[in-house]
């Protein structure tokens, strides 16, 4: 949900919360959007930090798995497939880019299944696109909150864009887990090294060594840019406020909470904990916004609009379906076609979210 561009001032859905500045409502927003990072910390960190892993071992298909990891991992992968309920199930969205919604995913699926090169490149790209995409989800929510205050859609847009990159991607680039990200993405191309290809050696040996040696410079660059930029950001908004800009306290809290959690987990926790926290709240926010915007359409799609319990059952179907997909993609998938489908879904999620949430086109 990277591109919630606020070209049209009032959001089309005039919910009771519109005047209050919330997207959906005070409680819903506080729990599922603004407070989602804190919720993720409160759930994930104690779950993995305070309890013994042996308590959560349970045999699935004859293999003992850590059910905490299975649950969180499935939830994270589940939100990826949720994008199709917006892009393909909503006919109005689908009609805006039919080529992107049909030919491109089919071509990518075939390409990833047929070529280990494309599979590897797509897998590596997905890891970094995920970081960028997650940064811009917070940016998108912030812009909607600004629109709720009837601010100009251009006011502070670039500032917000860079601030969200600093808050979300900054700790990844500057933190201890930067090399984990690098290694994880390059592992997708491991077959190149095994083939003794010069590109494989360059990617798998020379590049990580170079990045590791010079990571200090990267950290310094991020800090040298990030800290003055934060001051410049605050000063710019102070100036904007004097020119009539109305501060959205929801956006302020969203940035404070997201930034604090990002720095806290990437800086002070293990890679796995940080990855789970950041992706957990990202997925939770995504489920919240998709359900809010698509519930009526999805209730019709699931043929439940004639039933009094229709919305609840629709939500149940979606959650169950997405979780099953998440488990399949995270723990069950095998073979080139299955893996190709999982990678294609991830890439499509990151890509589609850049253009299926345009407020300017009254899409949200």
């Amino acid at each position: 949900m990277s591109d919630l561009e606020c070209q049209a001032m009032p959001t089309p859905r005039q919910s009771p919360s519109a005047k209050s500045g919330f997207i959906i409502g005070p409680v819903y927003d506080s729990v599922f959007i603004i407070g989602a990072p804190i919720l993720a910390v409160l759930i994930v960190i104690p779950l993995f930090g305070l309890s013994s892993s042996s308590l959560f071992g349970y045999p699935i298909k004859g293999v003992i798995r850590d059910t905490r990891q299975v649950f969180i991992g499935s939830f994270i992968a589940a939100h990826l497939v949720l994008v199709y309920f917006r892009s393909h199930a909503n006919i109005n969205i689908f009609r805006t880019h039919p080529f992107c919604f049909t030919v491109v995913p089919a071509a990518l699926l075939i390409a990833t299944a047929m070529s280990p090169w494309i599979m590897g490149i797509a897998g590596a790209v997905a890891i970094w696109w995920d970081v960028y995409h997650s940064s811009l989800q917070t940016f998108g929510f912030g812009r909607i909150y600004d629109a709720k205050q009837k601010n100009s859609p251009i006011a502070g847009r670039d500032l917000d864009y860079w601030m969200n990159l600093v808050l979300y991607a900054g700790p990844v680039l500057a933190g201890a887990h930067f090399m984990d990200h690098v290694r994880q993405s390059l592992e997708q191309l491991l077959f190149l090294k095994a083939s003794q290809s010069p590109i494989g050696v360059l990617l798998m040996e020379t590049t990580p060594d170079f990045l590791q040696r010079h990571q200090g410079y990267l950290t310094a660059t991020v800090l040298a840019f990030g800290l003055p930029f934060a001051i410049f950001y605050l000063y710019s908004y102070y100036c904007l406020q004097r020119q009539g800009y109305r501060v959205s306290w929801q956006k302020v809290w969203l940035l404070i909470v997201t930034g604090s959690v990002s720095i806290y987990v990437w800086g002070f926790h293990s890679f796995l904990d940080a990855f789970f926290v950041m992706n957990f709240f990202h997925a939770l926010q995504y489920f919240a916004i998709v359900w809010f915007t698509e519930q009526q359409n999805l209730t019709r799609i699931f043929r439940l609009d004639r039933f009094s319990f229709g919305k609840s059952l629709t939500l149940a179907w979606i959650v169950v379906f997405c979780f099953l997909y998440g488990y399949w993609a995270g723990y069950h998938v095998t073979g080139v076609w299955g893996s190709g489908l999982a990678v294609t879904t991830a890439i499509m999620h990151f890509w589609y979210d850049g253009f299926i949430w345009s407020v300017r086109k009254q899409q949200v």
């Binding site: 004859g62 280990p116 599979m119 095994a194 003794q196 019709r300 043929r303 179907w317 099953l324 095998t334």
Partner: protein, 305 residues
């Protein structure tokens, strides 16, 4: 948003069959969807059935739930033409056949190999290789059960390889060159691991991790780290290390066969045995045709693809 909802009303048909009939069809769709979701949950998370009949029954229940859901859903849709029904059913059927084939393969890999015309033939895998004259050979499969199955497994069930289990399928011992030194024999062992690699990089990663786990032990030294090779026309990944304690050279050659990884472990003392190792590896052959027929029919025509 109001405009959006109105457009959706126009485009998502829910009144192809109006009134009471439409409501009943919608209710039937919910029942079939619940059936499908439960069957899918059972299939993904439940215990793997121990017999083929139980597994195929599970797949049949899943496919029927899927088929009825698809049929009822498209029947009531204005957007999707009816031709989508056979297309989606075919996609589901192919996925079901693939799952059945994989399950069947977990039995097939455990079929003991046979010796015929101086070659060891694994009918279940669709693989054969030469046997050296005068060697000792043990073709009785031996499984190292995983922990969960040691506790809960059914000992009377047919022999099947479970997820993350390793089975030794063949062990060949070539007589030592010198009668004085029994330790100088060359040993070839074929193990199969049910490991489900996702793709080529994932397969290479597992071989590399295997290499790391072996050479992290004391007195182990890598001679050649994990690399791709091509043996007898097959894509393989291999590495070589030296065990200082046993004074033996180990060559680990791995092939991917569907969801299984085949590991040829060849170890010897004398460098002069190296040509024998190469000769053995070059004798590996696929015993059955590949292609779409093999893919659909499955293990009877060989698993390697």
């Amino acid at each position: 948003m109001a405009g959006l909802a109105k457009k959706n009303d126009e485009n998502v048909r829910h009144d192809v069959a109006g009134g009471l009939r439409g409501r009943w069809l919608d209710a039937a769709f919910q029942v079939c969807l619940a059936w499908f979701m439960m069957a899918l949950t059972w299939h993904l998370l439940g215990p793997v059935p121990e017999t083929k009949f139980d597994y195929f029954l599970q797949l049949a229940v899943l496919w029927l739930g899927y088929a009825f859901s698809i049929w009822l859903w498209i029947l009531r849709s204005r957007r999707l033409p009816l031709v989508c029904i056979p297309v989606l059913l075919t996609v589901g059927f192919v996925a079901t056949v693939d799952s059945a084939r994989t399950y069947d393969a977990s039995f097939q890999v455990m079929i003991p190999a046979k010796v015929r015309d101086g070659r060891v033939i694994h009918d279940g895998i669709g693989l054969s290789y030469a046997l050296f004259p005068g060697c000792q050979v043990d073709l009785q499969p031996q499984v190292k059960r995983n922990i969960a199955l040691q506790a809960n497994g059914n000992p009377t069930a047919p022999l099947r390889l479970h997820l993350e289990e390793v089975a030794r399928l063949c062990r060949i011992v070539l007589a030592p060159r010198s009668q004085q030194n029994d330790d100088s024999s060359m040993v070839i062992q074929l193990d199969v691991v049910y490991d489900r690699p996702r793709g080529l990089s994932s397969f290479v990663r597992r071989v590399r991790d295997f290499e790391r786990s072996l050479v992290s032990r004391p007195k182990m030294r890598v001679i050649r780290s994990t690399h791709r090779s091509r043996i007898a026309g097959l894509d393989t990944v291999e590495f070589e290390y030296f065990n200082d304690q046993q004074k033996r050279i180990y060559r680990q050659v791995q092939l991917r066969a569907g969801q299984f990884m085949l590991n040829f472990s060849l170890h010897y003392v004398d460098e002069a045995d190296r040509p024998h190792v190469d000769e053995f590896l070059n004798s590996i052959r696929l015993a059955s045709p590949k292609g779409i027929v093999a893919w659909l029919v499955g293990c009877e025509l060989g698993m390697l693809r």
